[in-house]
């Protein structure tokens, strides 16, 4: 694989417009990735779903080269209707459009950060891969005291032109003091076997609010990995919602550092999986100072041959007294071939804390089905009603009404 990586990298350098300095930078990341390769089950974080095996099985001829000099046509049919929004359109590995026309232009700044190093410790070779092969890296800055009027939707889209390719996207965000950003990641991939690797870095200043909704609803054969690193200042709030349903493989990783007092992090997720899908959510919430709070709720509904995994870790530093941490994961297994794995982890070094986790998995409650059927619903309807109710719980956690309705529409959940 290392020869291919090297030759694909050389091709990338030839076709792109990177400066020499940027190329040197990327070379370092490439070197790291060649050394470590794809993560595998020997690493604790990849125990349940081994990405190196999954890639081998699904994409035998993975290529890392992506021609950033070619532009792609935007297909307007992918755009979300009925909600005014700002756009970043990302097609076949390339950002085709950044559009903040609905906002005050003085309050939003976009800068090139290709040369910026990654500022936190990570043991994740996929971030090296991302940094080596991604295009120009942009940072989006929301200035002090500005709340975006409309949400930002990032479209992640691939079409038939691209196949068996590794696509990398990296974006940095900075939310100034008392600012607010609502961000929707919207995946509309047609069925091609690509490996999509997304890395976001968020920096939340004092009193800022980040709401990130990841919607992967439409069935496709891509493999996806997404990593969010969130640094939080005093009194900041981050809310992450993950709908994990469309891709063959999708692993969402959230690493959240609560660096400021009274900061809080919320992670809510839904797995709704059908045939042969394998999805995972892994969260790490680091409570580093006093009076921080985190809340996580993950629910799975698992169909035939599907597999979901949830690894949630709450870390509480010895300084972080008065921490409030909570994790709950629930799963409904619909078929004898479905599988649910969980590893809810607590690592606590402070004594005045309130931390708990719960995990439950099982089949649909026959008594409830009986109850509904005795009131005139058929078996299928009762089942759907129960599943809807089970998942609705998570959707209801979304704090933005407009987006909540949008997501309800996308999922097809009825109240």
């Amino acid at each position: 694989m290392s020869e291919q990586l090297q030759s694909d990298f050389d091709k990338l350098v030839k076709t792109s417009k990177f400066s020499n300095e940027e190329i040197e930078f990327k070379k370092n990341f490439l070197k790291n990735f060649i050394k470590n390769g794809f993560p595998n089950r020997k690493q604790e974080d990849w125990k349940f779903l081994d990405i190196s095996q999954i890639i081998k099985k699904n994409i035998s001829d993975l290529s890392f080269f992506n021609d950033y000099s070619q532009s792609n046509k935007i297909d307007p049919s992918i755009l979300v209707d009925g909600l005014e929004h700002n756009k970043i359109i990302f097609i076949n590995g390339k950002i085709e459009k950044i559009d903040f026309n609905l906002e005050d232009q003085n309050k939003i700044q976009i800068i090139d950060e290709t040369k910026k190093d990654i500022l936190f410790d990570y043991e994740n070779s996929l971030i090296d891969l991302n940094s080596a092969f991604s295009d120009k890296i942009f940072k989006i800055i929301v200035k002090k005291d500005y709340s975006l009027k409309k949400p930002l939707i990032i479209y992640h889209s691939t079409d038939d032109k691209i196949k068996s390719t590794n696509i990398n996207l990296r974006l940095n965000f900075e939310l100034g003091e008392n600012s607010c950003l609502k961000l929707i990641d919207y995946f509309t991939n047609t069925t091609a076997k690509n490996f999509i690797n997304i890395f976001y870095n968020f920096n939340l200043e004092k009193d800022s609010i980040l709401k990130n909704y990841k919607v992967d609803k439409f069935r496709n054969n891509n493999l996806k990995y997404s990593f969010n690193n969130i640094e939080q200042g005093n009194n900041s709030v981050s809310e992450t919602f993950i709908l994990s349903a469309g891709s063959d493989y999708f692993k969402n990783e959230i690493n959240c550092n609560l660096n400021g007092e009274y900061s809080s992090a919320f992670v809510n997720g839904i797995f709704s999986l059908k045939e042969n899908q394998q999805h995972e959510i892994r969260t790490t919430i680091n409570h580093l100072v006093e009076n921080t709070k985190s809340y996580q709720l993950i629910k799975s509904v698992l169909g035939k041959n599907s597999k979901s995994a949830y690894q949630g870790r709450i870390f509480v530093n010895s300084k972080a007294q008065k921490t409030d941490g909570y994790q709950l994961s629930k799963a409904i297994l619909l078929d004898e071939t479905s599988e649910f794995n969980a590893k809810p982890e607590l690592e606590i070094y402070a004594d005045d804390v309130k931390c708990s986790h719960g995990s439950a998995s099982g089949s649909l409650d026959e008594n409830s089905i009986f109850y509904l059927m005795s009131r005139g619903l058929n078996y299928q309807q009762s089942k759907e009603l129960l599943i809807n109710g089970f998942l609705m719980d998570v959707v209801e956690k979304i704090t933005d009404v407009e987006i909540k309705n949008l997501i309800k529409n996308i999922i097809g959940l009825k109240e």
Partner: protein, 480 residues
């Protein structure tokens, strides 16, 4: 001075910190084929046993020491250990208690288990292990009447080779992980229990382990077989003398329950935990595994872990028979610089299998405590269920409490529920107790005992009292 204070006084100078001055026969230092042959030879073992050991040794050569655990320890030089040592006066085994070396008897007296008295008064058969060779087995007569075999492992190899051959290594194979395989290669002695079909063992069986000679790894091997419809409750209590260097204890315990049989295995472990600076202490790396082989069988582990510098063990149940039940009750207390990484594995293979895990962890001082557990429900284990509860209590902000459960559900008919909480003793509770006249230490003792109650009540009477005291003593000085 009331009894409580006396207990504290005793603890300050570790009560069991003495060395019995008996000349030892030692195998040459180091680990190699010759040492294994030496051990096998001195114990007059048959060829198949030696082959078993050598097979394990072959495997050991390619195995690596695991290093995924939370408590790290300095590298152990396995070539720098003695793998066999026996009190010399044991060369010609005594026929009865009266023939025992008076010094040995004295040791047990200090330990609080005078053999004769214990045997007569408590009605417990004690298979006392002094370093590596069983000293004496009491209450044999009573047990023989029921057809129960309770003897040392070496005796079982001589007298009941069929049983040993049939079951040894079936739950913990020679090709298991590093420490289990090490044990298979060099184990010295241990207990062997066989309960025949339909017999309910009339008394609690008990072993007191004791590590004595300096620089001796203790490699116990225990095998308990409960035949169809039988019941046995086995107690294991441990103490070790004070030593500066760390000592390795890598025992293997195998339990096998056939149809309708039940095994209850209780442990109270208060080995030397090292001094308050974390110097010395025992490394307790034990492999304990039970196999519910038959239908409707049941295995219950109960453990109270208060000692050892590092405790690293996961008493597990493999629920193979349909309708079998596995239970795990644990209290782990760490103080000063102690570290524990303990929990259980419940592997559901049969239909309608049930398991329950109750784990209580208490950490104080600079200690670190990890609950690590696995619940794995196989796709064939229809209609199985598991309930897990693990609670941690922290005292002070220099210690750590961690929970790492692995949950794997591959069966849609099965239910798994897991709950965990971490908290400290609330000011309100303390205030309430103190208001009613208890001093702070008593109040903490009371609250902690309440916290542990669910586990303590699983212990047999004799142990429950001792364990309750131990819980209080282990936490002395941590309230402040």
């Amino acid at each position: 001075m009331d009894t409580r204070e006396k207990d504290i006084e005793k603890l300050k100078d570790y009560k069991y910190g003495f060395t019995t001055d008996i000349e030892n026969i030692k195998a040459p230092k180091g680990l190699n084929e010759d040492v294994i042959k030496f051990i096998s030879n001195i114990k007059k073992e048959p060829q198949w046993m030696l082959d078993f050991r050598l097979k394990a040794y072959e495997r050991l050569k390619i195995l690596k020491e695991p290093n995924w655990q939370k408590p790290k320890y300095p590298k152990i030089d396995y070539q720098d250990l003695y793998y066999y040592s026996a009190p010399k006066s044991m060369k010609d085994k005594p026929k009865s208690l009266d023939e025992l070396d008076p010094k040995l008897l004295e040791t047990y007296k200090k330990l609080g288990i005078p053999l004769q008295e214990q045997a007569r008064l408590n009605g417990i058969a004690v298979d006392a292990v002094f370093d590596s060779v069983s000293v004496a087995t009491t209450f044999k007569g009573e047990l023989t009447k029921h057809g129960i075999i309770f003897c040392s492992m070496s005796e079982a190899i001589q007298k009941h080779p069929d049983l040993v051959k049939k079951y040894l290594g079936t739950v913990i194979p020679v090709t298991d992980h590093f420490f289990a395989t090490l044990n298979s290669a060099v184990f010295t002695d241990g207990s062997f229990v066989y309960i025949p079909e339909g017999v309910k063992c009339p008394m609690e069986l008990s072993t007191y382990f004791r590590i004595n000679a300096s620089e001796t790894g203790q490699f116990e091997r225990t095998l308990i077989i409960a035949d169809k419809g039988s019941y046995v409750s086995y107690l294991e209590g441990c103490t070790a003398p004070m030593r500066d260097e760390n000592q390795l204890h890598a025992a293997n315990v195998e339990l096998i329950a056939l149809d309708d049989a039940e095994i209850k295995y209780s442990t109270v472990q208060n080995w030397y935990p090292g001094d308050e600076n974390g110097k010395g202490g025992i490394y307790n790396f034990v492999t304990k595994r039970g196999l519910c082989k038959g239908k409707n069988s049941k295995i219950a582990w109960t453990q109270v872990e208060t000692g050892s510098a590092i405790t690293w063990k996961y008493p597990s149940c493999i629920l193979k028979g349909d309708n079998s039940i596995g239970e795990f009750y644990s209290i782990a207390i760490t103080n000063n610089h102690q570290k524990a990484d303990t929990g259980t594995k419940m592997i559901h293979l049969g239909k309608n299998t049930k398991s329950k895990i109750i784990s209580k962890g208490i950490s104080a001082g600079f200690s670190d405590m990890t609950y690590r557990g696995l619940v794995d429900i196989n796709s064939k284990a229809k209609n199985s269920s598991n309930y897990t509860q693990c609670d941690s209590l922290l005292m002070g902000n220099k210690c750590g409490a961690h929970t790492v459960p692995y949950i794997k559900n591959k069966n849609f008919d099965s239910n798994i529920a897991h709950e965990a909480t971490t908290s400290k003793i609330s000011e309100e509770q303390l205030h309430y107790c103190q208001q009613r006249g208890l001093n702070p230490e008593e109040a903490v003792g009371l609250i902690v005992n309440g916290f542990c109650k669910e586990v303590l009540q699983q212990l047999p009477m004799e142990f429950a009292v001792e364990a309750q005291k131990l819980v209080g003593i282990s936490l002395e000085g941590s309230v402040g």
